[in-house]
Amino acid sequence: MKELKILAVLAVLVGITYYGIEPYAHHEMHPPVAPADFTYNGKQEVALYTKTMDEKLVAATENVAVQTAELAKATDAKAKEAITKKLEKAKSEVATLPETAKAEAQRRTDFWKTANHTAALEGNVTNGKVLVDANCIACHGIDAAGMPMAISNADAAASYGVVPPDLSSAATIYDAKYLAAFIASPVDAMHIQEKYSPESGKTFPMPSYNWMQPQEIADVVAYLKSLSVKKLEGKEAHKATFEAACGRCHSMQYAKFESTTPADALKTYMGTTPPDLSQYIKSRGEHYLHDFINDPQALLAGTAMPRVGLTEVAQHDVIAYMEEIGDPKKDERISLGIYTLAFTLVFAILGYLWKRKIWSEVH
């Protein structure tokens, strides 16, 4: 039938346009990244690091060429001297970069190997408690062990920059390998080595406990695992995990939740105010959040947000909570949508039958 042909032409034109401005454009604007990785074996991080350093080397090599050309053009002695200095710096960068990068990649690989090894050890809870009492509770509260934070959130933020987390649920929501890595070197575990590089002059508030033996770290983890946290289900669990994992820095206005670290302290600590997450399920989408929370640097190089080290289950809880707060009408929307479509289909069929009846008289 001719009208169906016209409809098909229309559908093709609209379809091509839609494909171009939606799936294709999004693909072009947001190239795919490595998917979320819950193995915590450091492989993806090292691959990303190597790639970044390779790019840096290319840029440095180009810089040498540029400076060399400039030097040839320069006539003034003073300018020549300045360019020579720059050129030497660029040359030394090109010379040292590959080795530094290789060494650092190896260091990171070894770091995660050790963490994996540590996490596999059988820990001693009693010894772990001794170690925690001696090393952790000066800054951290452990509600589940009857040891709440001794000072207020505001004071804690003023002293440390950010409120140190309560450790009650640490072993539940954080991956054991991540936790082992974190105790040994927080900055490496969180993948924020750039921000806390030696040149930055910054130090992370929590010291590295790399002087501990792997067995001792395993003991600490075992102790944290032994803490009896009230088992929550469904929405309660989602909320609790979100508040523990994200709530020290992020607010959730639509849930009337404010970050435990006061906003002005956060801005000083992070360099920028972490965003309110009320609508992030809509603005970022589940898929992006899934990859981003797992390793923020992989999607947004240089972001102040660290890798949090959540287990897959805990991360699922966090995203579920963001959806419950950011898109609470989803279920209503889907069920009403089905009813509406069914109703409209009846209308359309009746419309067709009526049209047939009426037009049978004029054809």
């Binding site: 294709y24 454009a25 929307r333 037009w359 004029v362």
Partner: protein, 416 residues
Amino acid sequence: MAEFKQADSMYEWFDQRLGIDKFLKVMMTEYWIPKNINFLWAMGVLLTVMFTILLVSGLFLLMYYKPDINMAFDSVNYTIMQEVAYGWLFRHIHAVGASVVFLIIYIHMFTGIYYGSYKKGREMIWISGMLLFVLFSAEGFSGYMLPWGQMSYWAAYVITEIFGGIPLIGGDLVVWIRGNFYVSDSTLTRFFMLHVLLIPLAILGTIVLHFYALRFPHVNNLDGEFFDYDAEAKKYLDGKKVESKVVPFWPVFLSKDFFVLGFFLLFFFYLTFFHFNFAMDPVNFDKADGLKTPAHIYPEWYFLWSYEVLRGFFFEIAGISGKSLGLIAFAVAQAVFFLMPWLDRSPMVKPANQRPYFKYWFWFLMVDLIVLTIYGKLPPTGTNAWVGFASSITFLSLFIALPFITKAEGKKVGGK
């Protein structure tokens, strides 16, 4: 005053005073539409329905929306989307409806071009329709600002900035439009006024003009055939319904429209409930922040083709800056469709596939517009920029060539 006899029924009472009988005849049962049409002729009624849906959903949104930069975002995303019963439904209908209405407008418009429904007496239908297109564009643009998200803000920033390119008055004009030196609260409140009052009023008036403009030249038909409407109407009234070339607006024409409308609404509600991101950009769920430019700024899809004509000229030609050239091309693109009745110099009123030269022109235009639309969204870097330039040039060339092509066509067909 005429003498009124005692009315026997309420209907008669009203009929005496308002002439209902006659009114219904003129507007419905004896308003004649050609029989030789296809489903593309239903787009007018679809648009009327869509406008009504937008108006009604807009009224509900207006009850809770707060035009203030500190409250707008949350009044939409929290109050309307979460607190008000079915507020989310009205917002989805309004946002998706605004997008879909443009799809139908474009189909309506290119149906008109394909079948030559803008010439030989139908010029005013075309002009009033194009006016509606411009008004709907203004309505869409002003409405997009209201949720005060990142894309609201930056699209407003970029589009108002365009006016800065106008010689002499540009800078002042931008400030005048924004009511400030940057996009601010005063910009939001004036666009709110435009969106909920002035432009809708103008649209209502122009819709009336558009419908009225149809009455004398009548609706075109599939073959562009001209015939005596009075004679055909008489045949129909005499009971020769099959023989007659016309049908009454009610119930015959509308019964077909209702059928098309039903299937269109299925599509529309599917989008409203299940597939709405294309009309409710995720980026716009970040609150407006004048200090944080999004990585990619693009207007809604229905503006992309003209936006790409603006962006297409990205380098200086003959001493005129790319920005100025783009602005000129953009201005031409906005106005050129108005001139269709005079640019098309062929006397033929036929569907494009029966016109020897025009058919190529039409499909070239369609392809070019799709290319412009797609590249209007992509980042304008590398080859993308050149594709944009080529398709912008093509767009302008097509309209420069149109009078010559159609003149030649007129000669070939010998004035038929």
